[in-house]
Amino acid sequence: MDLDTVKERAGPREFSPADDLPEEYREAATRMIEFHANSEIMGAYLERPFIRHAPSIDRKLAFSAKVQDEIGHGQLLYRAAESLGIKTREEMLDDLANGDGKFLNCFHYPMDSWVETPMIAFFVDGAAMRRQATLRRTSWEPYAHAMDKVCFEEGFHVKHGEDILRTLMTGSRKEQKLTQAAFETWWPRIIQFFGPTDDQSTHHDFAAAVGLKQKSNDELRNAFLDQYIPKARKYGLEIPDEPRIRERDDGTYEVVEDDLDWDEFFAIAKNEYEPGVGQIEGRRAAQEAVEWVRETIDDDATTADGHAPQAAD
């Protein structure tokens, strides 16, 4: 199939591994899905310590289940990416370990305290879910199928995060103050989740033209602010003065881009931001430490009746 045909046919769930797709499509889709999968892993990496820090058995169970789900999403997404035939899961996980794999800006920051957990588990997950819901209509069928399952589970994550926020904001004054401070730290990063405005986004045009991406950065940022500013206020959080956000007459929002730190954002995008580098390195060390197990089971790998598995298609 040539690129013009792809653009012509590009509709929801239009292309599957049975189609002969041009390199440009397969590479763009791999880049996008790999980024998504990596983000699941690095988000889980950031949240794992809070399974232990959770202040009750029930919260601990929920946190463990949530981190487990994120790894499960990684599993689904790497497979959706792998089925494009550009990279194997192992190559993608290795690239994530060696610092070549890219992932979401928010997961490059450290998270030290329980009061920060709803910033990821409610706001970032809420933002991610806005985007993921639109990706159920992406043109790469395996990606859309993965999104069906991810969206099914993700409602638990967002509500779990919101419930933690609710507990904190109805708790002691100290808890409320600490939570507000964490919100002020995280708010600009959360706004940057959606990237720069559309005219500055590098990959958007092509991804939209071939149906991989369904909504632009601006549309998604708007949809997020529209839903989550009222939520934040409802729990008694004050929206920080910066970045300045203006509500237009048509109900959409304009974020003053100059109020955000884009040098930091683009350093992060290149995996050059310090806390993120440490987090990548921490995960690399963990992955390397169990390399011997993967070698052991790979050597033994056989199919059900004991013969060697067929090479992948």
Binding site: P55, S56, I57, D58, R59, I71, A286, W292
Partner: protein, 290 residues
Amino acid sequence: MAFDDPDTLEGRERRALETLVTRLADDQFVLAERYTEWQVRAPTLESDLALANNAQDELGHARLWYDVLEDIGLDEQDLVYERDPDDFRHSTLVERPFEEGDWADVVLRSYFYDAAEAVRLAALEDSAHPKIADRVGKIRSEEEYHLEHAQNWLERLADGESEGGDEDGHERLQNALDRLFPHALTLFEPVDPEREADIVELGLRDATLEELGEEWLSIVLPYLESLGLVVPVDIDEDDPEFTVTDDLLPDERGRDGTHTDAWYDLYDEFTHTYRELERSEPTKLMDTPQ
């Protein structure tokens, strides 16, 4: 028997119940804490999901056991978040920290524990305490998966060849065994000999610790040997009765309130947020177990 009406329990009955159930709950709670360290660190995405499942199961079981003690006025706050670390009674097997990447440790530890759990739960099936007997059924079904999971891994690692002269799966398992076996034996050590006798006399459990320990050894020793692993005990073929002597046991035994340093670090970590936020009550999300 009075166990279906906790308000009528006498001192001796209460103490026996508390001793039995605290031990069950503490083992599961601390084991779950250690298992969760493997989340986002397991060898593959699939094995990560499976071990996380087992961690949640164990934590759910701890929750069910702690809840039994609510009937005698002890709640999660007393039992987990505000209890003195020296008053925890889990076996030292479950509190040991993991070396990074030591998957052999976690699967062997899991096997030791799950095999013991199967034996222990079987002896609680007809407990005089109706809540205990009832919960055993639900818990056993989940524990069966854990035991199979551990054995599946043990069999694959025990066969494992290494590439390029690295330590192979078999050697790693043997090292873990040498380290963990003394701690595993503490699973059957008494909290307090008098109370241990009461637990059986009052019908809370239908076997003594010695009997449970012997049964466990009769299962794990031949199995580990079949994998080519060496268990550091001499067993006389003619007299297979095996007695756990003091020199086989580690200095810290958990059951008697002595713990290794790693436990105090772990305790500080899991109570950290509760203390930092000056909480006085752990958040409940789920309904009280029936």
